[in-house]
Structure formats: structure tokens, C-alpha cells
């Protein structure tokens, strides 16, 4: 079943066609990777899906529903979570508070109930805490629960961001370069986590990644883009062998 359908997606910033006529579909339970040289428009596609940008043309459907007209804050509630290439966390809060903030859309108590801390609020709070603990256990973040984000090493912050996305309880998770800046061991952990997200949590994963070994290891299908345009779509080996893709990476300009 198709979970995410992207049709003829385009966005132009002035004369720059950052994304230009990109179409693809992500099936439920699939691990799908977008690859391409720097500036190809990969992160822009993520920003279009998470409604940070509004497309000039084309549309985005999630579970059959057109989400092109929704606002950025309505995306999490649908079950789409994401991480950022440059890590966007609440820096002056603890790891635990960052993960709990991921539960925001699941909080149903109102302001008066919150202030009075009614039994209903306490029950809900325990449930959120339980869900967050599962994420902490999954990503092995136990040692960092009460630590401020601002003082944590890069690799850990990267994992916390994945944790916050998981705490949202999504159906689809968008990972923007989950392995960039990580050591070989850390990248191996990320690969295992991505596989477990699908196997144990039933998630669909869409990721942008430069690390080809990670892409080859985990992804079912790969879309290669360059200069905002799609080059090839298919299995990892097939896409990498594609002449246009090789030309784009080697910079011969044949693709443009």
C-alpha cells in the first residue's frame, strides 16, 4: 500500500528551481532513500513534505489524503516525524524534556486540568513517560536522561533528535542525513535502528543520505536526484550503476 505519494513536486526560489518535477511513492513498511550531490534539492523535498515550504507546483498525499495545503504544525498529528541535517533540538532543556515534547500532539488535557494536575492528567503523563522510556531504551539514551542538550556531544544530539521523532509515535519518519558526522560505530548503530524501526515498530522510513554503505545496507529503493530533478529510481545497486547518476556524482554535467 502506498503511504506517501509525491506528484510532480516543484519549488522555485526566484529563478532557482530547487526541486523541479519530482515524483515518487513510498510504500508502507518500506525503507526509501533519496541520494544526490550537495544542493540537489534533497532537504528541500523534506521541507516540502513537512510543510516548511509550500510547493510552487505538484502535490503530496499521505495515506491518500492531500496534505499540500496543511500547515507545518499539523504534520506531526498525521503521523509524520522528521529529523534535520543540522539538528533542531530544544537546547536549553534536558533529553527527557525534548523527548516528552515529542508527545505534544498526544496531550489531550486542557489548561485547567493541567494546572489542577487531575488524576486524568497524571494518568496521561504516566503514559507519555512510558512511551518516552521505550524510546530511551531503544536508542540506549539511559545515561543522558537528565542532561542538557547544549552540553552533549554531536553524536548523542543526533540520536536524541531521532528519539524525539520516534516519541511522536509516527507512521512515517523522515531522516535527514542520519549518519552525517557520525563515526563508523555510530553509523552502524543507526543502521540497526533503522532496520528495527521497520521490523519492531512497523515504521516506514524515508531518508536522505550520503553514506552509500548505509544506503546499500538498509534501503529497499533509492531515488537519485540532481539539480532538483529526478535521475533514477530503483534498487540501490541499479541506481548507483545508472550512467546519469554516476555523471552527476563525478560532476561531468552530463545530467544537467
Amino acid at each position: 500500500m502506498k503511504l506517501l505519494e509525491i506528484q510532480d513536486l516543484s519549488i522555485h526560489f526566484g529563478g532557482v528551481k530547487a526541486v523541479d518535477g519530482v515524483s515518487f511513492e513510498v510504500n508502507e513498511g518500506e525503507i526509501f532513500a533519496i541520494i544526490g550531490p550537495n544542493g540537489a534539492g534533497k532537504s528541500t523535498i523534506f521541507n516540502l513534505i513537512s510543510r516548511v515550504y509550500t510547493p510552487t507546483k505538484g502535490n503530496i498525499r499521505f495515506e491518500g489524503q492531500d496534505i499540500t495545503g496543511l500547515k507545518a504544525h499539523q504534520i506531526a498529528g498525521l503521523g509524520i516525524a522528521r529529523t534535520f541535517q543540522n539538528i533542531e533540538l530544544f537546547d536549553h532543556s534536558t533529553v527527557l524534556d525534548n523527548l516528552l515534547m515529542g508527545r505534544h500532539t498526544h496531550r489531550t488535557t486542557n489548561f485547567v486540568e493541567d494546572i489542577l494536575f487531575l488524576p486524568k492528567v497524571r494518568r496521561e503523563e504516566r503514559e507519555h513517560r512510558r512511551r518516552v522510556e521505550q524510546v530511551i531504551e531503544f536508542l540506549e539514551l539511559e545515561a543522558y536522561r537528565k542532561k542538557m542538550i547544549a552540553g552533549l556531544p554531536y553524536g548523542v544530539r543526533k540520536v536524541v533528535e531521532i528519539g524525539r521523532a520516534l516519541a511522536i509515535g509516527p507512521k512515517l519518519i523522515l531522516l535527514d542525513e542520519p549518519a552525517s558526522g557520525l563515526s563508523v560505530e555510530e553509523t552502524r548503530d543507526v543502521a540497526f535502528w533503522i532496520e528495527d524501526m521497520r521490523r519492531d515498530m512497523g515504521l516506514t522510513v524515508l531518508m536522505v543520505e550520503h553514506d552509500m554503505s548505509l544506503v546499500n545496507q538498509v534501503s529497499d529503493r533509492v531515488l537519485a536526484v540532481a539539480n532538483g530533478r529526478p535521475l533514477a529510481l530503483g534498487e540501490p545497486a541499479e541506481v548507483q550503476a545508472h550512467p546519469d547518476v554516476q555523471a552527476a556524482y563525478l560532476g561531468t554535467g552530463a545530467a544537467a
Binding site: 507545518a72 516525524a81 537546547d91 536549553h92 532543556s93 515534547m101 505534544h104 486542557n110 511522536i168
Partner: protein
């Protein structure tokens, strides 16, 4: 005895600084910017309450006038955010500073053209009522000021610490992009916080007006309140109140015992001392990394 008397009056004054400082902190907590019109919002709130409540104006009962004024100021501040402040969303913080200074001038002009520049007195049920205990005179308005301030500070603190929307506001101040993707409607939250800060400013204005006449320039008190907020750490609500109290108490004591103009300078001298010794303020929210 004289010192104790000064301290009590100072605490009540300090509560007003503290309440205006709470407004600074609320807006800072949600949009990480400083609203320099906070003092003028206090002034406008006081005048609206006066316009609704005084017998020669609309003559509504005091409590009704105050609640209505709070609701009106909530609406005005909410509208200011929606219509004006939102236009500079994403601009450097300096833009907000200039914009809010301009807003302050507009509020002063509006109040001046409706109520004039001659000082007016708000009619309150507790005017002129004093209590004497052991040589000290405590006015009822001092007691009301202190009580209301404490209750409001605790309420606001719980709002930011425990409620869904309060937490969302704090999240938005730390990282707007991250707030969006966890589902926080950042713009809507900002408008709400502005509205709330308008209501809080009105309470401060009414309490100020129970202690003396008001004119459109009383908003300049906002500068002292800003010093209070900085002393408290700008991100901390209890810190803002403590900062206000510190300034409120030091001022009359310096006025009594220190030479000349030192009393007027005292709030800023304290602010400088705090900034030099504890750059993050007394209740710093920026936690230093322990080495």
C-alpha cells in the same frame, strides 16, 4: 522602625516592577525577544480600567472594570501581535526592539489623546485605608499589591511549567523549527502569550494606580522593570519577581540613606553588579557546563 516601613513600601513598589517584568519574561520566553512597550501596556491597562470604573467616566463597579480592562488589553495585545509584530517574524531581534519602542509611543499618544496629560486618580475600594501595627503603617493597597502579585506569579509559573500550551510556548522560544515539527502552532501560541502579557500588564497598571495618580508617561517605569527582569535572568518568572522586589526595596532605602541622586541610579547600579558577577542573571536559565 523607619527601615521596616521603607521596606514594606518598597516591597509593594517592587511588586509592580515585578509584574511588569513578568510581562517582559513571558514574551521573552515565547518569542525570545524583548517587548519594550510592556510599561506602556501597563499604562494603557490602567487607563482603560480608569475609563471603565471611575464615577465620572463609565462608572462600572471596580471589579467589573478591572476584569473588563484585562479582557480588553488581552484583545489589544493579541491583535498587536497578529497585525504588527507577526510581520517582522524571522527578522533580527533588533527589529522587534525598535518596533516595540514605537508601539510604546503610540500607546502613550492614544492614552494622552483620550484621557489627557493631567494626572488622574483611579477610584478604588481600598483607597486611604491603613492599618497600624507596632508603629508601622501598612496601607491596604500595599497588602493587595503584594497578595495579587504573589498569586499571579505562582499562576503564571505553573502555566509555563505544567500546561500543554505553556510548555509549547517555551518550546517555541527555544527552537521554532523544532516546535513546529512536534506540532506546536508557533504563531498562534505567540499571539496568545502577547494577549496574556497584556492582561498581566493591566493588573500591574491597576495596582500602580491604587498607589498614586496616573498619566500617560508612567509607562517609563518599564525601564526599571526591564532592569528587574535582567536581574532575574530574563527567562525566569520567579526571577523577575525577585528582581522587581530587589529594586523596589533598594530604591527607597537608597533614597533615605544614600546621598543625592544615587537613589535614582540604584536600580541600574544593581543591574550592572548582577550582570558583571552573574551574566545570566540571578536565576539564570543558561546552565553552564560543569567541568
Amino acid at each position: 522602625m523607619e527601615l521596616l516601613q521603607l521596606i514594606i513600601g518598597g516591597l509593594a513598589n517592587g511588586c509592580i516592577y515585578g509584574l511588569v517584568a513578568l510581562g517582559f519574561v513571558m514574551i521573552y520566553k515565547s518569542s525570545e525577544g524583548v517587548n519594550f512597550a510592556q510599561g506602556d501596556m501597563m499604562m494603557l491597562g490602567a487607563f482603560i480600567a480608569l475609563g471603565l470604573g471611575n464615577s465620572d467616566q463609565m462608572g462600572l463597579p471596580f471589579a467589573v472594570a478591572v476584569v473588563l480592562a484585562m479582557i480588553l488589553m488581552f484583545g489589544i495585545s493579541w491583535g498587536v501581535e497578529r497585525v504588527v509584530v507577526r510581520q517582522i517574524f524571522g527578522q533580527p531581534q533588533f527589529a522587534l526592539v525598535i518596533l516595540t519602542i514605537a508601539l510604546g509611543f503610540i500607546f502613550r499618544f492614544v492614552a494622552g489623546s483620550i484621557w489627557g496629560y493631567t494626572p488622574l486618580v483611579l477610584e478604588t475600594p481600598f483607597a486611604g485605608q491603613n492599618m497600624r501595627t507596632g508603629g508601622i503603617v501598612i496601607s491596604l493597597s500595599d497588602l493587595v499589591t503584594i497578595g495579587v502579585t504573589l498569586v499571579l506569579t505562582v499562576a503564571l509559573w505553573s502555566f509555563f511549567a505544567f500546561t500543554r500550551i505553556g510548555l509549547a510556548a517555551q518550546a517555541a522560544s527555544q527552537n521554532q523549527m523544532a516546535a513546529y515539527i512536534v506540532g506546536v502552532p508557533v504563531m498562534r501560541v505567540n499571539s496568545l502569550i502577547w494577549g496574556l502579557s497584556g492582561a498581566v500588564a493591566t493588573v500591574a497598571g491597576v495596582l500602580y494606580a491604587t498607589r498614586g495618580a496616573i498619566d500617560p508617561n508612567i509607562g517609563l517605569l518599564g525601564i526599571k522593570a526591564f532592569a528587574a527582569a535582567v536581574i532575574g535572568g530574563l527567562g525566569s518568572l520567579p526571577g523577575a519577581l525577585i528582581g522587581g522586589l530587589v529594586i523596589g526595596v533598594i530604591e527607597p532605602i537608597a533614597g533615605r540613606y544614600a546621598p543625592g541622586e544615587l537613589a535614582k541610579m540604584s536600580p541600574y547600579i544593581i543591574m550592572l553588579i548582577v550582570l558583571v558577577t552573574r551574566p545570566g542573571g540571578l536565576f539564570s536559565q543558561i546552565h553552564m557546563k560543569k567541568v
